[in-house]
Amino acid sequence: MSKRLSIVVVEQDRDRALMIVDSLNAAGDNDIFVISEVSGLARRLAERNPDVVIVDITSPTRDMIEELTLATAPMERPVAIFADQSDDSLTAAAIEAGVSAYVVDNLRPEKLHPVMSAAIARFNMFRRMREELAETKRALEERKVLDQAKGLLMKARGLNEDEAYGLLRKTAMDRGKKITEIAAALVTAADLLS
């Protein structure tokens, strides 16, 4: 019957790689192998001769894998999954999630589908985590600047904390700017004058 797929995941971050492997394992009984070394990537892939290669779309190592799509390469006619446009929604979902995959030319869609769906779901989760992290960092950064600005006003003008915040907010509204912009300007100005 249907033989197991041999899947290679190219991922340098160990934690991410483990999570991808977990998702793929849950999607079916396949042979999964992780390559985390960039050096000699094309050779390592050729040695394993996998049915599917999964790699982050933003990874610079993708160009090394491209080399294998040349007809003369040892891997038997691998193509980017995007080449098969028979399933546009899958392609669009993969690009949106940031997954790129290379598959051997004759791999049947029904075998590939669960694998790709699992990879797409996992990569979407990575993306959300990255966005949340960036958002949290930004919020923390803004909070810090706001606290500094309030402190400066309290000291210079003898205000309490609420009054200092009120003054920043009123200035921001009068100027049509964000309160964090006013706070940042004040902190910068104070740095320059100190």
Binding site: P60, E66, A80, F82, A83, T91
Partner: protein, 388 residues
């Protein structure tokens, strides 16, 4: 006036300058556009983003749309080159180990350097290039096979992403490389290698990057296509002015683009290269050219040359390959959209590649056109008409 946003993918390289300048100097807004520049870390992701509509246009290696037209490399959608963004700009370098085996060479003499490499190489020479379908690869194959180092017997060309080129050199995985700036200068800065040849020494007028879009997009959005081309062409003209390089280096070095000190970016723009870790400097004329010598015209003969080289190497029919490649470089759109704003239009869309030793005046539609030096290091000429 509300602006139409076009997203444009680029790879952080000095020759992304026309797109960065079009945005930073407001040439896009003059055309009612806002270019949203999307930085990518690999050429395959630029290609995929463009092919599948994630971006509208892209900074692309000139051989990539040609390879796609020949059905090479997997992705089957058709891309076309609206104009050439830059001519030349690559550099060949060697590891410290290989440099030690080479005699003191005249920098930029492709014949002498080629002969010295033959002399020095006792085993297969491993050379890194950024992508299998790149001018870097084409120039190397051309130069080394004419020098007596044919691939794959004597040379192994490997794909190494530019930001990893210095690491690959350090790890001893490659002996030499051909890469776009600033990555050659980065290997020198890190003390890992020396530069031995600018790409221009192999072919003095090699189309390096193109402004690429999907062919069906160019057909269905003629008006946007024209506006995009005009904005980018004006940016190229601005870059071609004397004295633009300092400002351009500042813009390119910015965190959103190359994220590098502007003095490293400036080396390519001024053609003053630091070629070895000991600090030797060489001046290269036309190291990278954004405008003069009608650099932006997408000559069909350029795409034919690329197709002919690839076909020869990969065992495809040359005439068939050249036929397929002809429509990829859109000289027709260049004439339609840029003639009215002062771009010089040549009389023909094909020319003989090679054989022009000095800058030469030729016939053009409106005025005199000066063709820049266009010479292969071995004095060969490529006549697309005669190949058929």
């Amino acid at each position: 006036m509300s602006l139409t946003t076009l997203s444009v993918a680029f790879v952080p390289l000095v020759d992304a300058a026309p797109l960065v300048v079009a945005h930073e100097m407001g040439f896009d807004r003059e055309e009612g556009l806002s270019l949203d520049l999307v930085r990518a870390s690999s050429w395959s992701s630029v290609r995929d983003m463009l092919a599948f509509g994630r971006v509208d246009a892209a900074h692309l290696l000139s051989p990539m749309p040609v390879a796609m037209a020949l059905g090479l490399g997997g992705v089957s959608s058709q891309l076309c080159a609206l104009m050439v963004l830059s001519v030349n700009g690559n550099v060949v370098g060697v590891s410290n180990g290989l440099a030690a085996k080479l005699p003191d060479l005249p920098f930029g003499d492709a014949r002498a350097v080629g002969a010295a490499l033959v002399e020095a190489s006792d085993q297969t020479l491993r050379i890194g290039v950024p992508f299998p379908f790149s001018m870097h690869a084409e120039l190397l194959y051309y130069w080394l096979s004419a020098s007596g180092l044919p691939a794959p017997q004597s040379v192994e060309v490997r794909t190494v992403p530019p930001p990893l080129m210095a690491d690959a050199l350090e790890a001893g995985e490659i002996d030499a490389f051909c890469v776009g700036e600033p990555w050659g200068s980065q290997t020198v800065e890190r003390g890992l290698g020396s530069l031995i040849l600018p790409g221009a020494a192999i072919w003095s007028f090699a189309p390096e990057k193109v402004l690429a879009v999907r062919s069906d997009w160019a057909d269905s959005e003629p008006e946007l296509t024209g506006r995009l081309m005009r904005a980018v062409w004006r940016a190229c003209r601005w870059l071609g002015q004397n004295g633009a390089h300092t400002t351009a280096a500042e813009m390119l070095g910015h965190r959103a683009y190359l994220d590098l000190p502007s003095d490293i970016v400036d080396r390519a723009l001024t053609g003053r290269l630091v070629i070895s870790p000991s600090g030797e400097i060489r001046k290269v004329d036309r190291f990278v050219e954004f405008f003069s010598g009608i650099a932006n015209f997408p000559w069909r003969s350029q795409s034919a040359w690329i197709a002919c080289q690839m076909a020869g190497r990969l065992g495809l029919d040359r005439n068939d390959a050249m036929d397929r490649a002809r429509g990829v470089f859109r000289a027709d759109l260049y004439r339609r959209h840029l003639g009215d704003i002062g771009a010089v239009l040549p009389g023909a869309s094909d020319k003989i590649e090679g054989g022009i030793v000095h800058d030469t005046a030729v016939a053009a539609a409106q005025e005199r056109l000066i063709l820049s030096s266009n010479q292969f290091f071995d004095d060969e000429i490529f006549d697309p008409g005669a190949q058929q």
